[in-house]
């Protein structure tokens, strides 16, 4: 597999290097003004890369594709190894797409003198997050996994709101706490792998970890060690409280990327590490995690209902939606043994991954929309708004579409994942499905009630009267998101086709 063009490396390192360069150049005021469109170009270049990767992607196989291998630390068997499968390519594409939108929005949302540094941070962030999705070596994964926190730490710390310092520390400590256990698990797996005679580069390859046979007792503690890292990221109840703070304090772009991508890394980690490496452990604890997911769906939805802060509301609704991801995955673990199980498991996994993608688009869109209001009014309090539709009709239409997607309306991408997960959940138990479907009602309650208070009605104050409708860059960003939300809502099959090979293989790994 010697690809003539190391496309995956380009995807990772182009934005990182470009971002670093922009950081250096940002001090020169005249130069940085000239470079105003450069971040956008880099972002578009990434879009071209990912299009090329899709072009060379083979469907219906779970094989890692477009692989790259370079020895990194030979004595330890650590390799710079990249590869892409159905899950990874979709999430990479999502990352690149969302960063493009962040940069587009930044044209009017960030002060001119800060623009280049702001965009540079997001480009670096983009490259590192793509690295997480593309790494096939466990240590390389871990390095990207941790490195990606640095730009996010800075983004929230520098461009955040009043309480940003508390939020960043909470965010960092929470995630570092989780990933420590993950590192221990990786080292243990490495030890087992070497004692099984896997030497050299195989001793840290994720694929070889997945092929190990571990006894149930080991799987049980490994399960928790791995779970904690990703449960914090996704986040699952009850380790979710960093999220409302971090989202609320982060700048618009930060919230968009946090919600759209970094949460997905939690889900992706489960797909890559938790389910295939410790399938028996997952099956053993499936009921616990299903219940935690249902708590996330019902309890968090109730909390979302009473939020008075726009960003907090969207942030809490993110947790509820990510509950469907963990629900889908662990329903797959639970039903795998019963009659017809593998097929239902595939539906559950497909649903979970679709929900991840859907939530990427939708939460990105929701945070963008909140940001659009925030730069105009400098408040996030719902009661400061009212009658926005009178002054921003176009904005109101877009927000309505995204709100409906958030509700899970059929015809938008928000429906597909939820629907599949509920279908699969019924197999795991009637009560599970009943509680999961409560989000149908609660989702409408919190989303459209917020919409009613913010958008409908008479204009409530002069600030709302003075609002101006979307600027051109905001229009493009919203239109791109709207197109994605509707297209994949009425025709999700292309997404399902891309992930089919991988989800079927994952179901097989679960049943082994």
């Amino acid at each position: 597999m010697t690809a003539q063009l190391n496309i995956l490396s380009l995807i990772i390192w182009t934005p990182v290097l470009a971002g670093l360069m922009f950081l250096l150049l940002a001090r020169h005021v005249t130069l940085s003004n000239k470079l105003r469109y450069a971040p956008l170009l880099i972002s578009l270049l990434s879009v071209a890369y990912i299009t090329f990767a899709f072009y060379n992607f083979t469907l219906n196989t779970a094989q890692m594709q477009l692989q790259e291998h370079i020895m990194w630390m030979p004595t330890l068997g650590i390799e710079y190894a990249l590869g892409v499968d159905g899950f990874a390519i979709l999430l990479t594409a999502l990352t690149i797409f969302m960063t493009l939108l962040v940069i587009l929005a930044a044209f009017t949302h960030v002060k001119r003198e800060q623009f280049l540094t702001y965009c540079a941070s997001f480009l670096i962030m983009q490259g590192l997050m793509c690295g997480v999705f593309l790494a096939t070596d466990a240590i390389l994964f871990y390095v990207f996994f941790e490195a990606m926190m640095i730009p996010m730490f800075l983004i929230i710390g520098i461009w955040g709101a009043e309480n940003r310092i508390y939020a960043t520390f909470k965010f960092m400590l929470y995630t570092l706490f989780g990933s420590l256990f993950f590192l221990i698990a990786l080292l243990y797996l490495h030890k087992v792998a070497t004692s099984n005679g896997l030497i050299g580069t195989e001793s840290f390859a994720i694929a070889s970890f997945q092929n190990l046979t571990l006894d149930l007792a080991t799987q049980k503690w490994l399960f928790w060690a791995i779970l904690i890292a990703f449960a914090v990221k996704i986040p699952m109840w009850p380790v979710h409280t960093w999220l409302p703070d971090a989202h609320t304090e982060a700048p618009t772009g930060g919230s968009m990327i946090l919600a759209a991508i970094t949460l997905k890394i939690g889900g992706y980690g489960m797909l890559r590490f938790l389910l295939p490496i410790v399938p028996a452990g997952c099956a053993f604890f499936a009921n616990t995690i299903i219940i935690l997911s249902l708590v996330a769906i019902a309890y968090i939805s109730l909390i979302t209902l009473v939020q008075q802060d726009l960003k907090k509301l969207v942030a809490y609704s993110s947790i509820a939606h990510m509950g469907f991801v963990t629900l889908g995955l662990f329903v797959a673990c639970k039903v795998i043994t019963v009659n017809n199980g593998p097929q239902i498991a595939v539906t559950g996994i497909d649903g979970a991954v679709l929900q991840m993608l859907a939530h990427g688009f939708i939460s990105g869109a929701m945070f963008l929309c909140v940001g659009i209001l925030y730069v105009r009014m400098h408040t996030r309090a719902i009661n400061q708004y009212g009658g926005v539709v009178n002054t921003m009709p176009l904005y109101a239409s877009f927000l309505m579409l995204f709100a409906l997607a958030n509700v899970g309306m059929p015809g938008t991408i928000g429906f597909v994942g939820e629907f599949f997960v509920i279908l699969a959940t019924f197999k795991a138990g009637f009560w599970y499905a009943l509680i999961a479907s409560s989000s149908l009602v609660l989702g409408v309650a919190y989303t459209l009630w917020m919409y009613k208070r913010v958008v409908f009605g008479e204009v409530v104050n002069h600030a709302v009267t003075a609002l101006s409708d979307l600027s051109i860059n905001e229009k493009i960003a919203c239109a791109l998101l709207a197109a994605a939300v509707i297209l994949f809502g009425v025709w999700p099959n292309p997404l399902l086709n891309v992930m089919r090979g991988s989800s079927q293989q994952l179901a097989m790994q679960l049943s082994k």
Partner: protein, 655 residues
């Protein structure tokens, strides 16, 4: 086959195209262009759907089941977007596109001065698209898509005048209640997938006999087990209860009258609210095997039928009177379904679509004439000023109460007769309830006519000076709807009884109450008409008319006296049996309170306060204590070093 495919695609794409064009261009289009585009595309849609219906009637087309494209493919489950065209869906698309076309034309007049003119036409075209997708669906996922699409459009259209607080409240309420039903609906779909491994109607229906033979049980708890088929039917019916506004999920429909009147006619009378009826008829192969679900439908339907009719008596808002009458008529349809008279239910759906749309549009004309005052006691003697409206309203009301000869008579009599023939436990009681409801229906319909269109004029002087017949674009639709309201019944009754729906509706021979009516009592439409004058329902009608005449024409003081004497009853009726109060004063605050408890106690106090910040604080506190050891005095440190050395020495020497 091939031509049918093209026609079907035209039927759904024409309104969609209209909606997209007008929606995207919005204010860039002139008003007249906006209505020309949507109305002409609706005409195309109506042409295509009526030719499909005619094709089925003359036997040129046969049932087809075609997939348009694969929507999603997961493991061995393939979900497609496609059409199931049979006599049931052909009739439905014809009636939907007919009423929609009429309402489109009417809206040109009614919405004439509205600032959201283009948006309005976009919405109603989009609604028509959703409704057509619903009735043409060939699988559960698409059915659900259409189901939600019409719910969404109803939400947007109830809240069309977004500056009105009441409209925003009503729209959110409608959406929320509908989503409660959808919870049941989704669970039903999940159960279908669980037991049939498919979401495709044809595949599911083909497996029913095997499922009935094995009769699997679904464990609700460890001890309670339900037959799977009843579970599926009841879950799906919960969806239908919300959409077709049955007790206790009916509360959204009266409030939905906050929307523009054409919407009330199209969505909240003729089409969307009947989606539940259609769905159950479509699922007749399932429902036939669950007598539990059938009995439940009899109970819910007859209760809705009676109690909502009673509420119509005390309403003074002309649109709300008609809205409660819609609820009551939907109750009739559900009762028909419960008695396995699916054909009768759909028949009533079709005739009701015509006469109820007529009533709403006529009411709209009256409302326009009196400058948007909806109180019937502010109208009076309107027939003098607007005879066309008055006569068409009279026709609509006669059809509503089932006066022999009108379309409503044939469909309602068929339902009453079928319920009498039913052998389910509750059917006898249901029969008397729906018979009695005829009396009440007559009473409130006559009250509406007498108070608003006859008796003395009660409107303000300046309003009366400007009273006149509405524009042509408004009264022509009234006449177009009045014709089927009068004649559709006699035209259709014979073919309905002669297996009109063919294999689209499945009835077990033992349940076939419609066929019993046909063999025992039916001797052609004309003798049915004549027989109508000597039947029990006609007695009810006469009694109702006499009562209304007494109360509102002969002794107008009578209603006031009754209200004064029966204060408690009046209060209950004005509070609409307290459903709204229960929701707004108990459920809503309780949910918010629960949310606040979860947030403040669960998240803020327990997780953040004790676990997260608590950990951080205790680390800080421990460090705060330990830091006192770091005094910075050299002699303290030397003392510790010496003491430590001594301790070590002692330890190595003596232990």
């Amino acid at each position: 086959m091939n031509i049918l495919w093209y026609l079907a695609v035209t039927v759904v794409c024409a309104p969609l195209l209209g909606a997209i064009t007008v929606g995207l261009l919005n204010k860039k289009l002139s008003r007249s262009l906006a209505h020309w585009i949507t109305c002409s595309l609706m005409l195309v849609c109506f042409g295509a759907s009526s030719s499909i219906l005619v094709g089925f009637l003359i036997g040129k087309f046969n049932t087809v089941d075609i997939d348009l494209y694969v929507w999603g493919n997961t493991s061995n489950l393939s979900i497609a977007v496609g059409f199931l065209l049979d006599r049931l869906s052909a009739l439905m698309i014809a009636i939907v596109s007919f009423v929609s076309l009429v309402v489109h034309v009417y809206s040109i007049g009614y919405m004439h001065d509205d600032p959201g003119y283009q948006r309005f036409f976009c919405y109603i075209s989009l609604f028509t698209f959703g409704m057509l997708m619903l009735v043409m669906a060939n699988n559960f996922a698409q059915l659900f898509f259409g189901w939600e699409a019409v719910g969404l459009m109803s939400y947007l259209l109830i809240g069309f005048w977004y500056k009105k607080e009441a409209a925003n409240f009503a729209s959110l309420k409608a959406f929320l209640i509908n989503r409660i039903g959808d919870m049941g609906f989704v669970l039903g779909i999940a159960a279908v997938l669980y037991y049939f491994n498919s979401l495709h109607f044809k595949t599911v229906f083909a497996q029913i006999s095997t499922l009935v033979a094995t009769n699997p049980m679904l464990a609700i708890t460890n001890t309670v087990q339900w037959p799977a088929i009843s579970f599926i039917c009841i879950c799906l019916f919960i969806g239908a209860m919300a959409k077709s506004a049955q007790i206790p999920l009916h509360v959204w429909l009266p409030d939905s009258m906050e929307g523009p009147t054409p919407i009330s006619a199209l969505i909240h009378a003729a089409t969307m609210v009947t989606a539940g009826i259609f769905m159950v008829a479509r699922m007749s192969p399932l429902y036939e095997y669950s007598e539990t679900a059938l009995t439940l439908m009899l109970i819910i339907g007859s209760l809705t039928c009676l109690f909502m009719a009673i509420l119509a008596i005390v309403q003074t808002d002309i649109k709300r009177i008609i809205a409660y009458s819609t609820l009551s008529q939907l109750g009739y349809m559900v009762v028909a379904l419960g008695a396995s008279a699916y054909a009768a239910g759909i028949f009533h759906l079709v005739t009701h679509a015509c006469f109820k749309a007529l009533l709403f549009l006529g009411a709209g004309a009256a409302i326009l004439a009196v400058h948007h005052d909806q109180n019937i006691f502010k109208m009076g003697n309107l027939h003098k000023y607007m005879p066309i409206t008055a006569v068409t309203m009279l026709i609509g009301n006669l059809a509503l109460l089932g006066f022999p000869g009108t379309s409503g008579f044939y469909s309602k009599d068929l339902i009453i007769a079928s319920v009498r023939n039913s052998s389910l436990t509750f059917s006898t009681i249901a029969y008397y309830i729906i018979l009695f409801t005829v009396l009440i229906t007559t009473f409130y319909a006559a009250r509406l006519m007498l108070v608003a269109f006859r008796t003395q004029e009660r409107m303000a002087e300046d309003v009366r000076e400007h009273l006149h017949e509405p524009r042509k674009v408004i009264w022509v639709p009234l006449i177009i709807l009045a014709i089927p309201s009068l004649f559709l019944g006699m035209i259709m009754i014979t073919s309905i009884l002669n297996q009109f729906f063919g294999d689209a509706i499945f009835v077990l021979p033992a349940h076939d109450t419609v066929a019993m009516f046909k063999t025992q009592d039916f001797h052609g439409w004309f003798s049915m008409w004549l027989h109508g004058f000597v039947s029990l329902p006609f007695v009810c009608i006469l009694m109702g008319m006499c009562l209304a005449w007494l109360c509102y024409e002969k002794y107008p003081a009578l209603p006031g006296i009754i209200q004064n004497d029966a204060k408690l009853m009046t209060r209950i009726l004005l509070a609409k049996f307290g459903f709204d109060d229960f929701n707004e004063k108990i459920i809503m605050p309780a949910t918010r309170k629960l949310g606040n408890y979860c947030w403040q106690i669960g998240d803020v106090l327990c997780i953040d306060g004790i676990m997260v910040n608590g950990t951080a604080n205790s680390v800080g506190r421990v460090a705060g204590v330990l830091k006192h050891a770091q005094t910075g005095y050299l002699y303290h440190y030397i003392f510790i070093i010496v003491a430590g050395l001594l301790a070590l020495l002692v330890w190595t020497m003596f232990l």
